[in-house]
Amino acid sequence: MDSSTIVAVASIIIAGMSTSFGAIGPALAEGKAVATALSSLAQQPDASSTITRTLFVGLAMIESTAIYCLVVSMILIFANPFWNHFIAQAGGR
């Protein structure tokens, strides 16, 4: 295997793995956050506006970790700097 093949294989595998593993934690955390918010909404319906706003802000914070993983795998697939480097080297040769 030459080095460009190694880069391609590693990029593809890591792109899949980063999104899949990066989705596990936020999914668990968001489920827990929503469940807690729902039970507190059932206990105190008067505070619904505050709870909803805090829930949305917190969900966006949690979700951003998953989004970071998605951005990393998108960069690895569509705009991979290492792959572009090898392509440019092969073109220059």
């Binding site: 506006s49 505050t50 706003r53 949305f56 802000v57 966006a60 979700e63 951003s64 989004i67 970071y68 998605l70 951005v71 998108m74 960069i75 569509f78 705009a79």
Partner: protein, 235 residues
């Protein structure tokens, strides 16, 4: 398929080029500013008023209420900045129902620019509220050892603000693009509807987070005076 609308270039003259992001941003700015100019040309204070004026009043009052709930007591001071952020991001995310439109918030350059505006606005509002010395002192709030961590958090939250909006909007267009090539007819429509929802939520989150950061940067004196009042009460 491309990662951001920066790649779509409409017109180029040497180094100077107009890509999709710039064109769409200017289009949105024109529509927003000309629209509000046209509506606010003939305002009335009577009971009978135009429906457009009603729309603008509903939007402005809603934004003011949200800002007040975050903890900024005088929303008139901040609505110029926070309201503009919200309206621009919301409009640019909602226009994805127009065919051929690419949201400028799906490009990292737009979101970094917006996040840098927040990064500059936090110390500006904090200094006008507290003065230079008090604001700089707030960086070593618990102890002086927290100074580097406070500075790091200032930078990392700006980065997070930019990448969050970019990632959400980019993934929306990307997923629709991939689905169009796999299951062409119905499924992309549902994902676009979901994209409209996430777009609105992201616009809300972006402006609320900016409001929270500004409130945190300009709150020290009020919390101190509140604690003083509490001490006097206990005495």
């Amino acid at each position: 398929m491309h990662l951001s609308p920066d790649v779509l270039i409409y017109w180029q003259y040497g180094f100077f080029k107009i890509n999709s992001t710039i064109a769409m941003t200017w289009m949105l700015m024109l529509v927003l500013s000309l629209g509000s100019k046209l509506i606010s040309r003939k305002l009335s204070t009577e009971i009978k008023r135009s429906r457009w004026q009603n729309l603008l009043e509903v939007i402005i009052l809603g934004i003011e209420k949200q800002i007040k709930e975050v903890g900024l007591a005088q929303p008139e001071k901040y609505i110029g900045f926070l309201g503009t952020l919200f309206l621009f991001v919301a409009a640019s995310n909602l226009c994805i129902i127009i065919p051929g439109y690419e949201p400028p918030t799906g490009s990292l350059s737009t979101t970094v620019a917006l996040a840098l505006c927040v990064f500059v606005a936090v110390p500006v509002y904090g200094i006008t509220e507290l003065g230079v010395g008090n604001y700089l002192k707030s960086y070593m709030k618990p102890t002086i050892f927290m100074l580097p961590f406070n500075i790091i958090s200032e930078i990392s939250r700006t980065l997070a603000l930019a990448v969050r909006l970019f990632g959400n909007m980019m993934s929306g267009t990307m997923i629709v693009g991939i689905l169009v090539s796999i299951t062409p007819l119905l499924f992309p429509i549902f994902m676009t509807i979901l994209g409209l929802l996430t777009g609105m939520v992201q616009a809300y989150i972006f402006s609320i987070l900016a409001a929270v950061y500004i409130a945190a940067g300009s709150r020290i004196r009020t919390s101190k005076s509140a604690s003083v009042v509490k001490d006097q009460k206990t005495k």
